[in-house]
Symmetry: C2
Subunit: 288 residues, 2 copies
Amino acid sequence: MAKKSTRAQSVSTAFRVGPEFDLAGVDPAATPVGPSSKVEAAEDLAAVGEQLDALQETLYAEGLGGGRRSVLLVLQGIDTSGKGGTIRHVAGLVNPQGLRIASFKKPTPAERRHHFLWRIRRQLPEPGYIGVFDRSHYEDVLVPRVDELVPAAELDRRYEAINDFERELAEAGTTVVKCLLHISPQRQRERLIARLENPVKRWKYDPQDLAVRAKFSRYQLAYQEALTRCSTPAAPWHVVPSDRKWYRNWAVARLLLEALRDLGPVYPEPSYDPQVELARLREDDPLR
Amino acid sequence: MAKKSTRAQSVSTAFRVGPEFDLAGVDPAATPVGPSSKVEAAEDLAAVGEQLDALQETLYAEGLGGGRRSVLLVLQGIDTSGKGGTIRHVAGLVNPQGLRIASFKKPTPAERRHHFLWRIRRQLPEPGYIGVFDRSHYEDVLVPRVDELVPAAELDRRYEAINDFERELAEAGTTVVKCLLHISPQRQRERLIARLENPVKRWKYDPQDLAVRAKFSRYQLAYQEALTRCSTPAAPWHVVPSDRKWYRNWAVARLLLEALRDLGPVYPEPSYDPQVELARLREDDPLR
């Protein structure tokens, strides 16, 4: 029965980054809660999908009715960690009309002239929407730390700016769900090789990926710092073991579902009397 | 065998608006080509979905590789004709990351100060993307004609402006797929009643819908004119019988598939030598 009670625990709690968090201690191949096989995961994902779809529609309706709330799913992770696959398989579970997907690449010279949060703010989901960030403002603390582009004091200021920004988002009605897709260097190697060997996957590969891969452990340290500095009550971080794609998809879908359930969107009260309108359609309709 | 040969014909040809087109002669409940049952349609839609998904990924890769091409699906139709449902069930077949969905409501005062195509141009899909318009620039010839808001000469200018605009899009590499979702007044009535009777559908209803419904036949005339004036070789119109949701979804998915097939996206040639990169990973990888 021990196993069962573990499985009933909140996925958000299971993956959350707390004060004593140590990234090096997280096994990227682990399946600490939830399904333990691909088949089991697929079954649960289908059920999660139906619930996500219904909650997303309610959130969308709430937004149209004047509600201010939204959800923002932030996906971080090194190359091949599965950010794109997660968007396809998790965001793909809901009506695309309610999604706002944004991808943040290396900042352009124009973007660089602004505060690092400028381009992020422009892509925030409107009320009623689920936003998905493929990389995010965290790039602006990860890359500079790994490549030693800014002094430590500037990094400190950025962590603080991020925490302020995310608290502000939460206060404005946006539930922020932050996920690090955590993979092992061995798995990254396999996936890079797969991209190179398969002609229809080669577009996903960039020779620069190997230069970044060479800094794998430095990125782990940068993540360790960013995650512990910026896992706040307003916007906690989650680390999702992502060596197994089926587990990663299941876990992120569950995290999104829990966020939407906690938010509890409600259909807006109609601004009209449904009975009056039904009578108009039934009795006065010129096109009967 | 006659039936079979009909079914093999191009869906785009079957629904295309030609010079002798008469909207009043199109049965909104017809199933002129393709499946004749919901089950058959679901089976074909699943197959279409797989092909759409693969072609969309190729188009996306082509765009990342410097390609200029894109697809724009324009959905028009009166309230309850199923624009939202089509987006959910057809656009929902592909990776949401490759979609750009835009919804055009009544223009805001700010939008009104610009040329009517201004807000449209801002929402065009970037290279590699599939854009979906839920209503479009056609609202600016339909509503003014029905409500007699502008003189005939101005409508003429707008039809011309639209034709120029769409030719320009085609020349720039955007395949435009325009669909009118055609429903009967009886079906609209049923769907409006369903929205009012079901508490979780009430948010989709607006009392103003009945005022628009009273002008049903005037909208049909406005569509007749817009469709015949603006069905051009560069951007033909298609009329999709939409009283049956399963047929509508199947038809639009097939139209989109044909457009993507005709476009024929190709994976970009890698800018690197895959064998060199594989050797780097296999031999020089510090993380082996």
